[in-house]
């Protein structure tokens, strides 16, 4: 779900509004429209999250292939989010 949140924020920053999560033959992804455009002008959004290891480029290519093969034809975007180990330090002062 973390990858979805980052992807939705990313495409929002690029002028898109995510409208719905939909299911199809290969799984599920999101559909969005460019802000201000009607819902009929659907653009698909494929999202994937990977851990520290693994190639982001290869995953993007895989997702683009999925867009090409999937049941829903038309334009689409692929967003891959790599999660690296986050380090958070907190200390208290009395």
């Amino acid at each position: 779900m973390g990858a979805y949140a980052v992807a939705i924020a990313t495409v929002h920053d690029h002028g898109f509004e995510v409208r719905k999560r939909i299911f199809h033959g290969s799984g599920a992804d999101l559909v969005m429209v460019r802000r201000g455009e009607p819902d009929g002008n659907i653009v698909r959004l494929e999202v994937s999250g990977i851990a520290d290891a693994g190639s982001v480029g290869a995953r993007v290519k895989g997702k683009l292939d999925q867009l090409e093969r999937g049941d829903l034809k038309g334009p689409g975007f692929a967003v891959v989010v790599r999660f690296k180990a986050a380090e958070i330090r907190a200390s208290a002062h009395e």
Binding site: K20, I22, H24, V31, D39, G40, D71, L72
Partner: protein, 202 residues
């Protein structure tokens, strides 16, 4: 309000999300029950999308079939594939991947009779759908529009048994068309080669 904002569509999305969580927790039966609920909601919303929004209708149609597949209700999913193609909500190409998934996973229940044995309601729906498909092929858009609402009404009256019988009939016809192709090209199909042994394919 767009169909994406329809409260039933939102409820379907949330229900499907809950189903995924149950799936991940290994509670498959409960997950399937929720998927079926989500699929039905999506199906009802799809039926209400006006023809003037074809792309939205196609997206929701695809999603409802995919959810029926996840609910393991293959007979409904397969009948719905053909239904959506007949009403023009999607094309065969749009739904090819899902149709393939269904055909490879559905085990026909033993209580379903032989092909060509549809009960009265299933037969009425079948005839109405063929009529719409025929008129669509001939380009009679007005006539097709008249038949569509009737077809949607008949769809809602179909029982699970009717849907299973319709799907079985569709699979039987597909298989016989494959056989015709095999006869015309005098070439055994790959699965027959596997059934009969490797020498057949040489």
């Amino acid at each position: 309000m767009s169909s994406f904002d329809d409260p039933r569509s939102r409820e379907s999305e949330e229900t499907a999300f809950d189903a995924e969580r149950l799936e991940r927790a290994g509670k498959l039966e409960e997950a399937r029950a929720l998927c079926a609920r989500a699929a039905l909601l999506e199906e009802v919303v799809t039926a209400d999308v006006p023809p003037s929004q074809p792309r939205i209708k196609m997206v929701l149609a695809t999603s409802s079939i995919a959810l029926w597949v996840r609910a393991a209700k293959f007979e409904r999913a397969l009948a719905l594939v053909r239904h959506y193609i007949a009403i023009g909500a999607a094309t065969e190409e749009d739904l090819a991947e899902l149709a393939e998934q269904i055909r490879s996973r559905w085990v026909v229940p033993t209580e379903i009779g032989a092909p060509g044995q549809l009960d009265e309601m299933a037969q009425t729906y079948w005839d109405a759908r063929e009529d719409v498909e025929w008129k669509r092929t001939r380009g009679g858009d007005d006539a097709t529009q008249q038949g569509l609402s009737g077809l949607e009404q008949l769809w809602r009256k179909l029982s699970d048994k009717d849907l299973a019988a319709i799907s079985f009939e569709l699979m039987s016809i597909d298989a016989s068309l494959d056989r015709t192709g095999e006869f015309l090209f005098e070439e055994p199909l790959p699965q027959d080669v596997a059934d009969m042994g490797p020498r057949t394919g040489r």
